[in-house]
């Protein structure tokens, strides 16, 4: 990493490697775009303009404005649509991961720490669910509870908790047999104290890495649900929805699927790098060894 270590410094006085700073800036830019973008560039899903159908990027539209990224099949500006979609996709991704990791970590720690019947029940349920295609499960649940923003988050969280639970359980098993946990016990620590002070801090790094990997998958899964008509209602723009909508025009209007696809890829890659470098940094042993 020597060539990457052009560094900036935070208030803490510790130098931050480029591997953290650069992706953090990119992710921050996405969040910023998602928050203020739709305010600057309004998007109305029902405002169609047939004169501007399937215009390529950098075209002047009928109303005189410039369409930076082109327009879709009903003449809606793609950039405005992506900015509005960023808000939904980021929110769905983040909310799903928070929910899934909360459920997964709670169940995984309980299963790993106390073991016994709880462990067997939780982990067998997890195994059964892993043996079942997650998108099929999502389709099943979504079909039952119907499409809405909350339901999509719920459905996706249900399909993702297993990954978090397995990582949390494995890590809990390793940590609870470490000497410093026994040492805490001999100093009178309660189970709650050990979980909060010994187990949970050790979970941060691996869970963070899992979350960054899952982030991309969740956004794509949301797109698949939307594609099947089981995701968000049609009026709500999402990246997945836009990518799906552009599929039928790939031959004559490549930009409809490609632009949100590129945006999604860059975000997923940056989140991945951020997760990896943060893990290395958060582990005090890795820093010195």
């Amino acid at each position: 990493m020597a060539d990457l270590s052009a560094t900036t410094t935070l208030a803490s006085g510790r130098a931050l490697p480029l591997g953290i700073v650069l992706p953090a800036i990119v992710v921050g830019f996405y969040v910023l775009a998602a928050v203020i973008g739709p305010i600057l560039l309004g998007f109305d899903p029902v405002a169609t303009s047939l004169a501007d159908r399937l215009k390529p990027p950098m075209t002047a539209l009928a109303n005189g404005s410039l369409s930076l990224l082109g327009t879709d099949a009903v003449g809606r500006d793609l950039l405005a649509q992506m900015l509005a979609g960023a808000r939904i996709s980021l929110a769905v991704g983040a909310a799903t991961l928070v929910l899934a990791s909360l459920i997964g970590v709670a169940l995984g720690v309980v299963a790993g720490y106390w073991g016994g019947a709880v462990d067997t029940v939780v982990m067998r349920i997890a195994d059964i669910q892993l043996g079942f295609p997650s998108i099929l499960l999502a389709v099943l649940v979504a079909a039952v509870i119907g499409p809405s923003l909350t339901n999509v988050i719920l459905v996706l969280a249900v399909t993702r908790w297993v990954v978090f639970a397995r990582v949390a359980r494995a890590q809990t098993l390793t940590i609870k047999s470490r000497t410093f946990v026994d040492a805490s016990r001999t100093l009178g620590a309660t189970d709650a104290h050990i979980i909060i002070n010994c187990i949970l801090p050790a979970l941060v790094a691996p869970i963070l890495v899992v979350a960054t990997v899952q982030f991309g998958l969740v956004i794509v899964a949301e797109a698949s649900l939307s594609f099947l008509g089981l995701g968000l209602p049609v009026g709500i723009p999402t990246w997945g929805g836009t990518i799906s909508a552009g599929r039928s025009y790939l031959a004559n209007a490549w930009w409809i699927s490609t632009m949100p696809g590129i945006a999604l890829s860059i975000l997923v890659i940056c989140v991945g790098i951020l997760g990896d470098t943060l893990r290395d940094r958060l582990d005090p042993n890795l820093v010195t060894r």
């Binding site: 410093f180 016990r185 001999t186 620590a189 002070n197 042993n285």
Partner: protein, 338 residues
């Protein structure tokens, strides 16, 4: 070396037996374990790997793994039977009444918190001290264990300390709440020889200052001789000899103890090079301990009775005892100690 005050019994273990669940039944790790430690006194549990020293400590501190079964015995501390107490109650005694020092200081500290936070937290949670007072107390206690520049080092993480310094920190945490019993499980095994002596000196000093009872678990005969009042020698899950350390070292009543003492390389006395004496054979598989005396297959003095009858603890006077049919003869035989 009797303590100045009338001795106060701190910990009494009687008839302790601990087994581990395994395929094909329970494996007994400890059997017939009885010993006691008085305030201000050091008892060493001496034995090789697998002899059951650490399991004894785990049984006392309620650290036994889930697969362990205590099949009989009592551990009396302060009039209470620790084995009968609910675990929650035992935990309450931990830290304030009894503390433990571990073998490997590199893993005995939580790597994600600064040492100041870890030690201060003890005072906050267990003694209800405020943030600032707890930090002061933490600085005092790590000053006590001889870490230079204590106040500044509170902000360091465990990995920023050397092995010896980390063991001092572990000791600091163990004695922070002034326990009356300190269990030290091979406290110097993972350390350099030069640091070992410093750590043992520290433990000895703290013990005198706080009039603590200390249970020292070790396989190092030299460490035992230096700091111990009494010793209990363990072999294959049983105590084979116990008594005042001088008596046991001068006149061992058990052939195993004799073998151990003979295997210490002689560095004094002219440095005449002699082959190292060893005890032939290996300790028995705990699943198939031999009939009679468990040591008989390795014992140079074994007779027929040793192969059939398990020897009782033979009283050799003044608290010295050995589980050998010929313990009296062993002690009396001057030729063997010429």
């Amino acid at each position: 070396m009797p303590p100045a005050t009338p001795s106060e019994r701190c910990l009494t273990v009687s008839d302790l037996a601990v087994g581990f669940a395994a395929r094909g039944g329970t494996i007994l790790a400890l059997e017939d374990i009885s010993f006691h430690v008085d305030a201000g006194e050091t008892l060493s549990l001496l034995g090789e790997s697998g002899s059951g020293k650490s399991v004894s400590a785990q049984a006392i501190m309620a650290l036994l793994p889930d697969t362990a079964v205590v099949s009989s015995g009592t551990v009396r501390f302060d009039g209470k039977d620790l084995l009968a107490l609910p675990r929650r109650e035992t935990r309450r005694l931990c830290g304030t009444e009894m503390g433990m020092v571990f073998q490997d200081p590199l893993t005995a500290l939580n790597p994600v918190f600064t040492v100041g936070d870890q030690i201060a937290e003890l005072f906050r949670v267990r003694q209800g001290l405020g943030r600032r007072a707890a930090r002061e107390a933490a600085a005092d206690v790590i000053d006590t264990v001889g870490i230079p520049d204590a106040r500044r080092r509170l902000g360091n993480y465990p990995h920023q300390f050397s092995g010896g310094m980390r063991q001092r920190l572990v000791i600091a945490m163990a004695i922070a709440l002034k326990p009356r019993l300190l269990i030290a499980d091979e406290p110097t095994t993972a350390l350099d020889v030069t640091v070992q002596a410093q750590i043992m000196d520290l433990l000895g000093r703290l013990q005198r200052e706080h009039n603590m009872a200390m249970l020292l678990i070790t396989h190092d005969l030299g460490v035992v001789a230096d700091v111990t009042d009494r010793v209990a020698v363990m072999y294959s899950g049983r105590i084979v000899e116990t008594g005042d350390v001088r008596r046991v070292y001068d006149r061992p009543g058990h052939p195993y103890t004799r073998g151990l003492l003979a295997s210490v390389p002689a560095t004094a006395g002219g440095g005449k090079h002699q082959p190292l004496a060893t005890i032939g054979g290996l300790p028995p598989n705990p699943q198939r301990r031999p009939q009679g005396c468990t040591f008989h297959p390795r014992c140079p003095f074994a007779q027929d009775i040793c192969r059939t009858e398990r020897p009782p603890m033979v009283d050799l006077g003044n608290g010295h005892g050995a589980t050998c049919h010929f313990a009296r003869e062993m002690v009396a035989d001057d030729r063997l100690f010429a």
